[in-house]
C-alpha cells in the first residue's frame, strides 16, 4: 500500500483498489526486478550502439579486406569478418539500426491503428463493431509472409514499405485487445457517471477508457516488437532486406549460411543478436504482464516474502496457546477458540488483522458475529475453516467437535466439509458455472465416501432438506439457471453434505432480496432445529442477528468488544461500540434518525495500545486511553471491553448515543 496516505486508508486495504502506486523511485523499483533490468539493458545497448554507429558513421561496414576474409574474432575484428573480409560487428550495428527502427515503425502503426479501431468498435458498438471485426478477421487470416513477398514484388526491396504493411497486419491483435478492454470498461459506473456529466464521447474515450488500455497495449507491443524483428530478419534472409552491399541481420544470416562449412562462427554473431534481442523483447512483455497482474491484485509487485518475514511467520505459527480452562463456559461446545490471531506480512514483519479472539459455540447454538467491514469478522470465519489466504498466518487454540485443529500443519484438509463447512455470500460464485447442480453434488458426496447410486439418493435428500421443489429438474440445471435464493439453497445443501458439526455462514443473505432472505433465514432456523449444528453467522445486519441468532459477538478492530445473549445485547448494550452500531441502524418501524459513527475503523497495524474504539467513541475520556482495555464479565454469559461501561450506566442508564427524532423531510406540496 502506498505509504504517503495520511487519511484513513480503506480498512483491510481493499485489494486492487489503490491508485497506480509509485513505490520508491523508478531506479529502486527496477533494481528489485533484475529480469526487467537485464532486458532493458540489452535492448538499450543494441539500440544505442547501432544508432551511434549509424549516425556518426563509426566503423566501416562496407570496407572489404579480402585478404582477411572469414576470420574468427580478433583484436581488429572483435566478431570476425565475413566472406569479403568486412567487419561483422560494424555490419551488425549498422544493420541493427534499420532493423530496430523499421520493427518499431511496424509496431507503432499496429498500435495506433489497432487502438483507434478497437476503441471505436468497443465504444460505439453496433455496425461499426461488426465491420471492424470483419476487418480484423481478414487481417488475421492473411498469410503474413506471402503478403509481404507480394508487397516486395510490387514495391521492390523497400523494407520500410514492407514493415508498414506488417504493421497494418499486426494491428488485428491490438484491435481485438483494445476492443475487449473497452467493452469491459464501458460498463464501469464511472463511464456512466462521465456520460451523465455531459462529457463528449471523445473525451470519455480519451480520459476514462484509453488509460485502462495503455498497460496491456504496451505489454503486447513489446512482444509485437520481437515478432517484427523476426519477420524483418526473415525478409532479409530471403533477400528482401537492405540491398547489398548494405547489411541487414537477416541478410547476414543468409550470407553466413552459404559459408557455414568454411566458417561456422560467422553464424553466431548475427544469430545470437537476433535471438537475444527477440528474447529480451518477449521476456520484457512477460515480466511487465506479471507486474501488472500483481499490482491489480494489490500486492506490491511480484516479490517474494523476505527471509525475516518467513522467520516471523514460523515463529507466529508455532505460538503455543493452552486449552481453555473449563470454567469459561465453553466446555463441551462444538467450537472452542482461544486467543485466535490472524496475521499478515507488512513491511518487514507481521501485523494482526484478528488479535486474540476467544469464542465458543455449542450444539444448536447460533452465534452472530457483527461489526463494520475491516473489523476481522470474515478473517475469523475463514481461520476456522483453514482458508485464510496465503501469506496470512493463523495461530491460537482451535478445537472443533472435541479435537484440536492445528493451524499450521494442514490438518484442516481432512476436516473441512466434514466437521466444518461454509456458506458464502455469493452463491453463484460458490457454485462452479460449468457443472450441473447434480454433478457438483455428486463430486462433493463421492468425496464423502458415497458410491454413485448412494450419491444420487443423498443429493435428492439434501435438496429436499433445503426445500427445493422439482428436485430432478434442479439436479439437471446449471447454477446460472437458478434464482439467487435457489442457488443459495443448493450451496447450503452442498455445505450440509458432509454433515458438519460447525457451519460458518459468511453474510449468506446479504446479496439476496429481503423476501428471499426471510426464506433462507427460515430454512437455516429449521435446519438448526433438526440438525443441531453450531452455527456461526457473520453479518453486518443487526436485523438478521435479531432474527436468527441466540448469542452475539461484536468485533471491533480485530478483537471482541462485547459478547452477550442476543436479547440482552439489543435491550441494553454494554459497550459503546455495540450501542453505536444499534443507533446507526435505520429501522423501518421507527421515525428516529440513525446516528452515524464518526471516523472509520483504523487499519490493522494502527490499532492503539489502549481501547481501540476510544478514537471514535463519544464517551471516551483519559481513563480510556490510559491502558489496554480487557474483557470484563457483566452477568451470566456476558462480557464487554469497556472501562467506563458501569459508570456510564450509572450516569445515563445507557451506552447508546441519543437519537433525534427525524426532522421533517422538505415538504413541497401534498
Amino acid at each position: 500500500m502506498s505509504t504517503d496516505v495520511t487519511a484513513a486508508a480503506p480498512p483491510g486495504g481493499a485489494p486492487g483498489a489503490g491508485p497506480p502506486r509509485r513505490t520508491g523511485g523508478g531506479i529502486a523499483w527496477l533494481l528489485r526486478r533484475p529480469g526487467i533490468l537485464a532486458c532493458l539493458i540489452w535492448i538499450g545497448l543494441v539500440f544505442v550502439a547501432s544508432s551511434v554507429a549509424r549516425l556518426f558513421s563509426l566503423g566501416n561496414p562496407l570496407e572489404q579486406d579480402l585478404g582477411n576474409a572469414l576470420a574468427g574474432p580478433s583484436a581488429a575484428h572483435p566478431l570476425g569478418t565475413d566472406q569479403l573480409g568486412r567487419d561483422v560487428l560494424d555490419r551488425l550495428l549498422f544493420g541493427g539500426w534499420e532493423t530496430l527502427l523499421s520493427a518499431w515503425l511496424a509496431v507503432v502503426i499496429a498500435v495506433v491503428l489497432g487502438t483507434a479501431l478497437g476503441l471505436l468498435a468497443g465504444y460505439v458498438g453496433g455496425a461499426v463493431d461488426t465491420v471492424t471485426s470483419w476487418v480484423q478477421d481478414i487481417l488475421i487470416t492473411l498469410p503474413t509472409i506471402l503478403v509481404l513477398l507480394a508487397v516486395a514484388t510490387v514495391l521492390g526491396n523497400d523494407i520500410w514499405a514492407a514493415m508498414t504493411v506488417l504493421g497494418v497486419l499486426m494491428s488485428a491483435t491490438f484491435i481485438r485487445l483494445v476492443r475487449s478492454l473497452t467493452v469491459s470498461v464501458r460498463e464501469e459506473l464511472y463511464v456512466d457517471a462521465a456520460r451523465v456529466s455531459g462529457l463528449s464521447g471523445a473525451r470519455i474515450l480519451g480520459r476514462h477508457i484509453l488509460p485502462n488500455a495503455v498497460g496491456p497495449v504496451f505489454i503486447q507491443g513489446s512482444a509485437a516488437l520481437g515478432t517484427a524483428v523476426v519477420v524483418q530478419a526473415g525478409l532479409g534472409f530471403l533477400g528482401l532486406g537492405a540491398p547489398p552491399p548494405y547489411p541487414s541481420w537477416g541478410g547476414m544470416i543468409s550470407e553466413a549460411a552459404t559459408s557455414i562449412s568454411l566458417q561456422p562462427w560467422l553464424l553466431v554473431p548475427s544469430g545470437l543478436m537476433i535471438v537475444l534481442t527477440v528474447l529480451a523483447l518477449n521476456l520484457l512483455g512477460d515480466y511487465l504482464r506479471d507486474e501488472m497482474y500483481a499490482a491489480r491484485q494489490g500486492r506490491g509487485g511480484a516479490t517474494q516474502p523476505s527471509r525475516r518475514q518467513r522467520r516471523a511467520a514460523d515463529a507466529l505459527a508455532a505460538r503455543e496457546v493452552a486449552e481453555p480452562t473449563v470454567d469459561d463456559g465453553s466446555a463441551g461446545a462444538v467450537l472452542r477458540v482461544r486467543d485466535l490471531r490472524v496475521s499478515f506480512p507488512h513491511d518487514d514483519g507481521f501485523v494482526d488483522v484478528v488479535s486474540g479472539v476467544d469464542l465458543h459455540i455449542g450444539a444448536g447454538e447460533t452465534v452472530g458475529l457483527v461489526g463494520e467491514s475491516g473489523c476481522g469478522k470474515t478473517m475469523t470465519g475463514l481461520s476456522l475453516l483453514g482458508l485464510v489466504p496465503s501469506p496470512g498466518v493463523v495461530s491460537g487454540y482451535i478445537e472443533i467437535d472435541g479435537r484440536r485443529v492445528s493451524t499450521h500443519d494442514g490438518s484442516f484438509a481432512g476436516r473441512r466439509g466434514r466437521e466444518v463447512a461454509l456458506i458464502s455470500q455469493e452463491p453463484m460464485v460458490a457454485l462452479d458455472p460449468v457443472f450441473t447442480v447434480g454433478s457438483l453434488m455428486d463430486e462433493v458426496l463421492r468425496g464423502h465416501g458415497y458410491d454413485r447410486a448412494g450419491a444420487r439418493t443423498r443429493a435428492a435428500e439434501l435438496l429436499e432438506l433445503v426445500g427445493i421443489p422439482r428436485i430432478e429438474a434442479v439436479l439437471r440445471s446449471y447454477p446460472h439457471q437458478l434464482s439467487g435464493g435457489m442457488a443459495q439453497r443448493v450451496s447450503i445443501a452442498i455445505a450440509l453434505a458432509g454433515e458438519p458439526r460447525l457451519l460458518i455462514a459468511d453474510e449468506p443473505t446479504t446479496a439476496l432480496d429481503v423476501t428471499v432472505q426471510a426464506e433462507i433465514l427460515e430454512l437455516l432456523r429449521r435446519l438448526q432445529a433438526d440438525l443441531g449444528m453450531a452455527l456461526l453467522f457473520i453479518t453486518h445486519d443487526l436485523g438478521v442477528v435479531a432474527d436468527i441468532c441466540t448469542r452475539t459477538v461484536v468485533m471491533y478492530a480485530g478483537e471482541v468488544v462485547e459478547q452477550a445473549p442476543v436479547e440482552d445485547l439489543f435491550d441494553s448494550p454494554r459497550h459503546p461500540y455495540s450501542g453505536a452500531l444499534l443507533a446507526a441502524t435505520p429501522q423501518v418501524d421507527d421515525d428516529h434518525d440513525p446516528v452515524g459513527i464518526r471516523g472509520v475503523v483504523p487499519p490493522p497495524g494502527r490499532w492503539p495500545e489502549h481501547c481501540r474504539f476510544a478514537g471514535r467513541c463519544s464517551f471516551a475520556t483519559d481513563t480510556c486511553r490510559s491502558g489496554p482495555a480487557v474483557l470484563r464479565p457483566a452477568g451470566p454469559d456476558r462480557v464487554h471491553r469497556c472501562v467506563r461501561s458501569e459508570e456510564l450506566f450509572d450516569e445515563r442508564g445507557d451506552v447508546r448515543p441519543r437519537r433525534q427524532p427525524a426532522p421533517a423531510p422538505v415538504e413541497v406540496s401534498s
Partner: protein, 367 residues
C-alpha cells in the same frame, strides 16, 4: 396526486425494454408514472428485477425508453442525445451504489470534480480548482483531498466524493441509485444526513432508488413501490410503511428483519401465518403482461388477478394497484377471504374507502 407547481421531473407511462437477443425483448418497466418536485425526495423501492434502477437510468439518459415521456422542468428529455443531452448534465446528476467503481481510479479527486465543471462552464483551471475545493468542504472532506486518488479513501469518503461530483454543476435533481447500500450502517447514517443537509442548503431534489425501505423511510416523504416493472403502491412513506394496502408491499415489509429480537419474533410469527405456499403451483399466471404480476405469490389471489391487470385505485393520498380495492373488479375484500394473519387494512380505519375519496387523510407523522 400532488397538486401545486409543475413537478421538476414528470414521468408518464414510461416503458423500458432490454433486448435479450434478436427476437426476444425483456420489458423491465411497464407504464410507470412518477413525479418529483423541486427540493423533495421520492423513494423508489423494490426487489431485484423490479425495474427501479432502470427507471433511474432512463431518467439519466443511460437507457433509452421504449415508450412514454420523461419531462424535466417542462421539457421532454426522453429522446435527447448529444449536445442537448449534455446540456442537461447541469441539472441532472447521479450518485451510484459503488463509490469505487463510479470514480475513475486513475484520476485524482480534484480532476474528477473539475471535469464536469470545465465541460459546462468555460473557466480557468485555477477557478475550477477553487470550486472543487469548496465542494470537498461542502461534503465535509479536507480541501487537500483533491490531490489524492479515490483509492486512498474509505467507502464513506468515496461516496462523499461522488456526491461532491454530482453537486459540482449545481444539479437540481440527483438520482441516488442504491447510493448507501454498499456502506456500513455506521457510514450510511452520516451519508444520509449529508444528503438531507445538502437538500436543506441547496434545495436539490432526489430520486432515491433503493431496495431498503428502512433507508427510504428515513429520507423520503413519498415512496413508489415497484414489482416486476409495475407500480404496486404509492403514497406517503410513513403511511405505507405503517399500514401497507397492497399485498406485495405487506409481504415486502414483513420480510424485513428489525433489530429487536422480541419484536422480530412477533413479525416472524405474523409473516409465517400469512405466508402463501405458492398457490396454483408454479404455472405463474397466463401470458406475460396479462394479470397482476404478483398473482403467483399473493395470498388473496382470485381468477380476476390472473386475467386482468389491476389499475391504480386512489385511496386517500395513496394509489394501490390491486383488484381487492377496486369495486369494479369483483374481487372480494381482504377481510372476506380466509387467510391467516391478514385482516382488511381498510376495515380498521374509518374514512377512506376505495369508492369514495375523501381528502385530507395524509398523515404527517415523523416530526
Amino acid at each position: 396526486m400532488t397538486t401545486g407547481p409543475e413537478p421538476l421531473l414528470d414521468i408518464r407511462d414510461l416503458s423500458v425494454e432490454y433486448r435479450l437477443s434478436r427476437r426476444e425483448t425483456l420489458r423491465a418497466v411497464h407504464g410507470v408514472d412518477l413525479d418529483v418536485h423541486a427540493g423533495e425526495t421520492v423513494g423508489l423501492v423494490g426487489e431485484s428485477g423490479s425495474g427501479k434502477s432502470t427507471i433511474g437510468r432512463a431518467v439519466l439518459g443511460l437507457t433509452p425508453p421504449a415508450s412514454g415521456s420523461i419531462r424535466f422542468d417542462g421539457q421532454e428529455i426522453a429522446g435527447l442525445r448529444g449536445r442537448q443531452r449534455a446540456r442537461l448534465a447541469r441539472d441532472l446528476q447521479v450518485v451510484f451504489q459503488d463509490p469505487l467503481s463510479s470514480l475513475n481510479p486513475s484520476m485524482k479527486v480534484g480532476d474528477l470534480l473539475q471535469e464536469p465543471i470545465r465541460v459546462v462552464r468555460r473557466i480557468s483551471r485555477g477557478e475550477a480548482a477553487e470550486i472543487a475545493g469548496d465542494l470537498l468542504e461542502r461534503v465535509s472532506l479536507p480541501r487537500d483531498a483533491a490531490s489524492r486518488y479515490p483509492g486512498a479513501f474509505s467507502g464513506g469518503q468515496r461516496q462523499r466524493i461522488a456526491i461532491a461530483r454530482a453537486l459540482s454543476i449545481d444539479a437540481r435533481l440527483i438520482v441516488c441509485d442504491e447510493s448507501v447500500s454498499a456502506l456500513d450502517v455506521s457510514t450510511q447514517a452520516s451519508i444520509l444526513s449529508l444528503l438531507r443537509r445538502l437538500q436543506r442548503e441547496l434545495g436539490v431534489a432526489y430520486l432515491f432508488v433503493s431496495h431498503d425501505i428502512a433507508v427510504v423511510r428515513n429520507v423520503s416523504r413519498r415512496v413508489v413501490v415497484l414489482y416486476k416493472g409495475r407500480v404496486m403502491e404509492r403514497g406517503p412513506t410513513a403511511e405505507i410503511v405503517d399500514r401497507p394496502y397492497h399485498p406485495y408491499t405487506r409481504t415486502l415489509l414483513d420480510a424485513i428483519p428489525i433489530p429487536d429480537p422480541r419484536g422480530q419474533r412477533e413479525r416472524r410469527a405474523r409473516r409465517l401465518a400469512s405466508r402463501v405456499r405458492s398457490p396454483g403451483g408454479t404455472a405463474a399466471g397466463g401470458a406475460a403482461g396479462a394479470g397482476c404480476p404478483f398473482a403467483a405469490r399473493c395470498a388473496f389471489v382470485q381468477d380476476v388477478c390472473r386475467t386482468r391487470a389491476p389499475v391504480p385505485i386512489p385511496i386517500g393520498a395513496r394509489q394501490v394497484a390491486c383488484h381487492m380495492y377496486d369495486p369494479a373488479s369483483g374481487h372480494p375484500r381482504a377481510g372476506e377471504i380466509a387467510t391467516g394473519g391478514w385482516d382488511d387494512p381498510l376495515a380498521r380505519e374509518p374514512g377512506p374507502a376505495p369508492d369514495r375519496q375523501p381528502a385530507g387523510t395524509t398523515r404527517h407523522d415523523g416530526g
